[in-house]
């Protein structure tokens, strides 16, 4: 099952990349679609981030995880490097759990 998912993603992604390269002489993407595709990508990623930050299998995820995410987002907003965002978010959540918060 896992192999099938990875292969489907790989084949589909490569097809999308190659399609633009092959069609470039004959085809122009309508400007509204060109604008919509990056918006769709941002929406999906943010939606996944929001649920995994706030919820754990349908119930609220406690305090430590959302606080850690908040710290990470603040750093990202201040243009901190990606690796620092990740480490700070994880360290905050881990620290709060050490203090006994859920």
């Amino acid at each position: 099952m896992l192999i099938a998912v990875i292969l489907a993603l790989a084949v589909g992604t490569y097809t999308l990349r190659l399609a633009g390269v092959i069609l470039q002489d004959r085809f122009n993407l309508p400007s509204w679609l060109e604008r919509l595709l990056p918006m769709a990508a941002a929406t999906l990623l943010a939606a996944l981030a929001a649920t995994s930050a706030l919820l754990d299998g349908g119930a609220l995820a406690g305090v430590a995880r959302p606080t850690g995410v908040l710290v990470g987002v603040f750093l990202a907003w201040r243009r901190a490097p990606f690796a620092l965002v990740i480490v700070a978010a994880a360290a905050t959540a881990a620290g709060l759990r050490l203090l006994g918060l859920p």
Binding site: G20, A59, T67, I86
Partner: protein, 231 residues
């Protein structure tokens, strides 16, 4: 990029994937956002949504390919290999160069560097992630959403993107307790339909063929991401 790859490897291990899975993904899918998304949805138990969501995210590569006319080289294998090395970073980097030999060199060097760092980072992350025990004790569950939001943040500077994204995230969080895993994330796209279609229709009269807000003077640090010509 090495750090992002390492985070991906560690997070995939924490999500319970076997070590070969993130390594294979980084080599043959080679698309950061889609890989993070797929790992999250596979972990949630919805492989179909993982594929659909990942491909939707990667659909932005289609306009990238259109924009890179003549960048790869003349041979067929240049196009076949160059397509696989197409990433946000390599595209932004090469479109910043004038067309011709300089752009070609920029694309191939950026593409190769990103590919090597991303894959080396993934292996490193899997090794580190496998070496530690409980992912929750390390706070890796907070690292995943923080990383995703860091990837999204630059595109939120655009006002209409921000509205669509916020509505979508809100709908998804509300729907998650009631719908099967993976579905609520795809439901986020209603925000796109609800908020952009009326705005687009409204502009058809005065400005045919192009939504008015596409010409907003929005500051972007990755201008080539949308492939839009400057207004």
């Amino acid at each position: 990029m090495l750090g992002v790859g390492a985070s991906f490897g560690a997070i995939a291990s924490a999500a319970g994937l076997p070590a070969w899975a993130p390594v294979a993904m980084s080599a043959i899918v080679f698309a950061g956002g889609a890989q993070f998304m797929a790992v999250g949805l596979i972990g949630a138990g919805n492989p179909v949504a993982a594929v659909l969501g990942g491909l939707l995210i990667n659909s932005r590569h289609l306009p990238f390919g259109l924009a890179l006319t003549g960048t790869f080289g003349d041979r067929r294998w240049h196009r076949l290999l160059g397509s696989h090395l197409m990433t946000d970073e390599a595209v932004a980097f090469s479109l910043a160069q004038p067309p011709g030999a300089a752009r070609r060199r920029a694309f191939w060097s950026a593409g190769a560097a990103v590919f090597l760092c991303w894959n080396a980072g993934t292996v490193l992350g899997v090794l580190l992630g496998g070496a530690v025990g409980d992912p929750a004790a390390l706070g890796l569950d907070a690292a995943f959403p923080a990383g995703l939001l860091a990837l999204v943040l630059p595109s939120l500077r655009d006002r209409s993107t921000r509205a669509v994204v916020l509505l979508g995230a809100f709908v998804t969080v509300l729907a998650t307790p009631f719908l099967p895993a993976g579905l609520p994330v795809l439901l986020a796209l209603v925000g796109l339909v609800v908020l952009t279609l009326p705005a687009y229709r409204a502009t058809i009269g005065p400005a045919p063929g192009r939504p008015a807000e596409a010409c907003d003077p929005v500051p972007r640090d990755r201008p080539s991401e949308t492939g839009e010509p400057p207004c």
